[in-house]
């Protein structure tokens, strides 16, 4: 078994990638997917396993610099590390690497180098592809898919693990489906949380045919040095005074704490949610206007927002809308909680949407925070919105 070195991923894969198996990091455009393969390679090599990096869009010396930026020193790896240079030939540059692809636009040329490198490895190792999509762009989709099958068969023969970085540009549907579901033993989705821009990044196991993989999604950030780091998001819970924000936070959380005075939140509520494979830290704001500066502080880097409203108090809705503006959350996924639906004289979610003049794209969901009714449905809705892949 070869560990990927990606936080939590080896747990989800029950140890990593077995020898002879293949894994693809299936990254959406604009998301930092390339570092995943790099990190897997460097992690394996630093654990004494031999590794080969197939460079297709970067010069080899630059790759060593990239490793160094992340804190991985390729010079220390000695003979356990080699680069297959499938880039220099493209720009007509000289190469001093052990393996040089004469014609990077021909999969046969690439295959020959990969075979040579696999044979030269004295023991089972890991082969990592910098960018399968670049190879596909240069060599053609069908030709590359055929070549991948050949490379994977060689890997099985020599007991090497294969790790591919792939960026899911809009190739043909058949190609994308094949990459995502068919030709690799495991697929790791590396996606972006999108709204107006990509707000954050996540990864998760889509499939792994050697184990019953854990299907959780992890938000991550890429640090230099450091590489991929699991990232815990912030979800904000805001709303007018006495709308039930603290109760909502506590109903949703596996553990929670409030900073309050005589039952009124004066600083924040904080809770940790672990629900259906998603973990989140949620932060509740005070509702009174005199605490508005705290709301601004709390709202920094929020990934999504719950606006909690007391469904019996239409006179507070304008304040709710104002609080959304204070949190500067427009553009972020927002779910409006129509709370206290068990009380007399409540407005329906549709009534509330109308009074707030909110578009249909912003869900208004009924809930009774005191009993927990509706709170997890709202959470799942917000998570779906946050995790929506563009």
């Amino acid at each position: 078994m070869i560990e990927t070195g990606i936080p939590k991923l080896d747990d989800y894969l029950h140890g990593g990638v077995p020898l002879g198996k293949t894994l693809v990091y299936y990254a959406y455009p604009g998301v930092e997917g390339a570092v995943f393969g790099m990190q897997s390679l460097c992690h394996a090599i630093s654990n004494g396993i031999s590794g080969v990096y197939v460079a297709s869009s970067t010069e080899p010396h630059r790759i060593r610099e990239q490793f160094s930026e992340f804190g991985w020193d390729a010079d220390e790896y000695g003979d356990r590390f080699a680069i297959i240079d499938a880039f220099s030939g493209l720009i007509g540059a000289d190469s001093h690497e052990r393996y040089v692809v004469a014609d990077p636009e021909d999969t046969r040329s690439l295959t020959q180098c990969i075979k040579n490198a696999m044979e030269d490895l004295r023991e089972p190792g890991v082969i990592v592809f910098e960018s399968l999509s670049t190879i596909m762009d240069l060599c053609g989709e069908l030709e590359t898919l055929d070549a991948i099958e050949e490379w994977n068969q060689y890997a099985m023969l020599y007991d090497h693990a294969m790790v591919y970085n792939f960026t899911a540009w809009p190739y043909s549907d058949d190609t994308l489906l094949s990459i995502k579901e068919d030709i690799f033993d495991s697929t790791i989705s590396v996606g972006g949380i999108t709204g107006n821009v990509i707000f954050g990044q996540y990864f998760g196991v889509l499939k792994a045919n050697w184990t019953d993989a854990v299907r959780k999604y992890i938000l991550f950030k890429v640090l230099k040095p450091g590489g991929v780091r699991a990232y815990i998001p912030k979800i904000l819970v805001t709303g007018p005074f006495d709308a039930g924000k603290s109760t909502f936070v506590h109903a949703l959380s596996t553990r929670a704490v409030s900073v309050d005075r005589l039952g009124t939140t004066i600083a924040l509520d904080h809770g940790h949610v672990d629900h259906k494979g998603f973990a989140a830290d949620i932060f509740g704001t005070p509702g009174q206007a005199r605490f508005d500066p705290i709301i601004k502080l709390l709202s920094g880097e929020a990934m999504g927002v719950f606006l909690v409203l007391d469904s019996t108090r239409a006179e507070d809705f304008a304040r709710g809308r104002q609080m959304l503006e204070i949190t500067r959350s427009f553009g972020l996924p927002v779910v409006i909680i129509a709370n206290k639906q068990d009380c007399d004289g409540v407005l329906t979610p549709d009534d509330i949407r109308g009074q707030l003049d909110m578009p249909e794209t912003i869900p208004v969901m009924p809930a009774v925070a005191t009993t927990g009714n509706g709170v997890f449905e709202a959470f799942e809705t917000l998570i779906d919105m946050v995790m929506e892949v563009g």
Partner: protein
């Protein structure tokens, strides 16, 4: 949310450009397209926009120097440059606040990541809601990657421009590409800025923003200004 080019006569004729618009700028070599692209970015900075410039022909520092050369009083923290050149020259320059390094013009994945990072930074940390993206130039990218690859890249990023309510400017060298390439790429854009050579110099017009193209105007570039005549 609308944009202006910062080219006065054209702005008067085409009116405000709606957010999410992608514009191809095409013209012959040495016609001042780099300056015009920078002037459009500069206009954005004056309008409190952010500017993301993907530079495939000039090192990022040269692009920054353009803004410094004319003593332009602009907030530099609103300029982001994706530099596709410096590292191909063998310099191991690190990223800075203003400049993020891509490996090469081939590395479309890396270029896309850097663009996304600047957009996220301007939106999330600086709370800027209007951003101008200028790719200067697509022609260099097309030298290293085939049309289909570049089309796929642009298909994604013209969509991102719309999602971000931004403005996209994409520079293309006239005469470097065949008709099929230009026609294919045109599908992705909402309008064009065309430049042509004339007896007295160069002329510019805007196409696709109004029912008819604007007239051709002679122009001169004076520092960070473009002066249209006629």
């Amino acid at each position: 949310m609308t944009y202006k080019l910062g080219i006065s006569r054209l702005d008067e004729l085409i009116g405000d450009i709606k957010s999410g618009t992608n514009i191809m700028m095409i013209g012959p070599p040495i016609s001042g397209k780099d300056d015009i692209a920078n002037i459009i970015a500069y206009q954005g900075l004056l309008d409190a926009n952010a500017a993301v410039i993907v530079s495939t022909r000039e090192p990022g520092n040269n692009v920054l120097e353009w803004f410094e050369r004319y003593n332009l009083d602009v907030p530099m923290d609103r300029i982001g440059i994706v530099d596709c050149v410096t590292r191909t020259l063998g310099f191991g320059a690190p990223d800075t606040d203003n400049i993020k390094m891509a490996s090469s013009p081939v590395d479309l994945t890396g270029i896309g990541v850097k663009i996304s990072q600047f957009f996220e930074h301007f939106w999330m940390e600086m709370h800027l809601r209007e951003t101008r993206l200028c790719i200067n130039s697509l022609s260099t990218i097309l030298m290293y990657s085939n049309l289909q690859t570049v089309f796929r890249f642009l298909h994604v990023f013209t969509g991102r421009i719309k999602a971000a309510n931004a403005l996209g400017i994409y520079v293309i060298e006239e005469g470097m590409h065949d008709e099929k390439t230009i026609v294919t790429l045109k599908q992705l854009f909402d309008g064009m800025i065309e430049i042509r050579e004339s007896e007295e110099g160069y002329q510019i017009r805007a196409v696709g923003f109004t029912p008819k193209p604007t007239p051709w105007f002679d122009y001169e570039i004076d520092g960070a200004n473009i002066v249209l005549r006629g």
